[in-house]
Subunit: 167 residues, 3 copies
């Protein structure tokens, strides 16, 4: 049942809520991804994956997603959540950062993390995209950033009864 | 490899253990779901999903599950874990709450969160079900509540080689 | 879309990094699993699963994985992360423990947890394997241990349109 995603969708949203969880739910709604069952994954861009709009998915679809969020109940505080998606010839990495501070600082940190991840792998960065959310807290606010991993292709062994070769 | 679950199973359990993780394992056993590989997901009820008993599943089956738990090592303390499953015409939301306090309070909070989630979506609540666990700690105790997302139907793009249309 | 894994792969790694997340990314690289999208799961060994080397998987493959890690920025501190995989006739359990201390202590704790998990189930332990990582922190270091759950076989209801019986 392993698979490789082929379509990545960046999303970001901010909102207030009555509780931390509903503030997060509301922020997911602003991001357009509130009616999905998100499965948290770590953070690799498959080779040749493309970025694009979210396809229409039924309510409750289970979707592997890299996401991060930050909640604060300090009125006036700025919170931000960022995922930086670095891509290159061999694939890429998704690095998340959130903090109680402005989004441009969070993007700088996430960019450094992408650079470190590429350097580690000996890969070259072609492009860095961002999902970035920044929110000024009213009463209890949330900023969230996410990358949905969509349109997977099956990999290997789980299909071995159907004629495929186990990797 | 995206899919929409069609059968939801509510479960709850409480137990003592020698460590926080084994107390949780024991509580999952009381809930009847200890021999599964739970994948944590966020929290949407698909349209037309039904609630029912857990089917017999092989040891180690990987199952997307909304779950929450609370552990305490304060003898005599009451801990409780709740998931409220609100459903309506268009689908529903699963909201979790746990705390060091009684279950009826936790159910009240989770109910408010369901109401907020429905209001946000402009949906009407038909029914709210609960998975509720309350435990009085002896030495090191755990309460857990869970909703298993079962019987998924495939969605969209991963089947595009088999004739389906990518959404 | 439920399934039962049939191949388990133990991995462990340690590394330094510039941030906690990149230290973890680097440690995953040392473990040979940095280019995968890990989905965190709880912790059961299916009956008749085998342990073996990691198959070659495309960059970005989504893989259910039991993993744990510990990060420290205290120079000279020893950190360790362990997963103990206990197996027997009916299946087994994976117990994780990490701490700021040596690996042999962490293995002892994880072993006790496996013993408690087996006792709870009334099972007998045939063997305990370990994924163990121990790291002496230079500036900001991470130790990680993981068990990849591979080669899944489909289970039950999601295939009911193809002639299988829903369990």
């Amino acid at each position: 049942m392993l698979y490789v995603p082929r379509l990545l969708h960046l999303a970001q949203g901010c909102s207030e809520g009555l509780t931390p969880l509903t503030a997060f739910d509301n922020a997911l709604r602003e991001a357009g991804i509130d009616n999905l069952n998100l499965v948290k994954v770590s953070s690799i861009v498959p080779k040749d994956a493309r970025f694009g709009p979210r396809p229409s998915l039924p309510v409750g679809t289970v979707v592997p997603t890299v996401y991060t969020h930050v909640v604060s109940n300090v009125p006036g505080e700025i919170v931000s959540a960022v995922i930086a998606a670095g891509t290159g010839e061999h694939g890429g990495v998704l690095m998340e950062y959130h903090h109680r501070g402005p989004a441009d600082d969070a993007e700088r940190v996430a960019t450094s993390m992408v650079e470190e991840g590429f350097a580690l792998r000996g890969w070259t960065i072609d492009e860095i995209r961002f999902a970035t959310a920044e929110h000024k807290v009213d009463r209890l606010g949330c900023a969230t950033a996410a990358v949905l991993l969509l349109e997977g292709e099956p990999v290997g062994g789980h299909l071995r009864n159907e004629g495929e070769v186990t990797p």
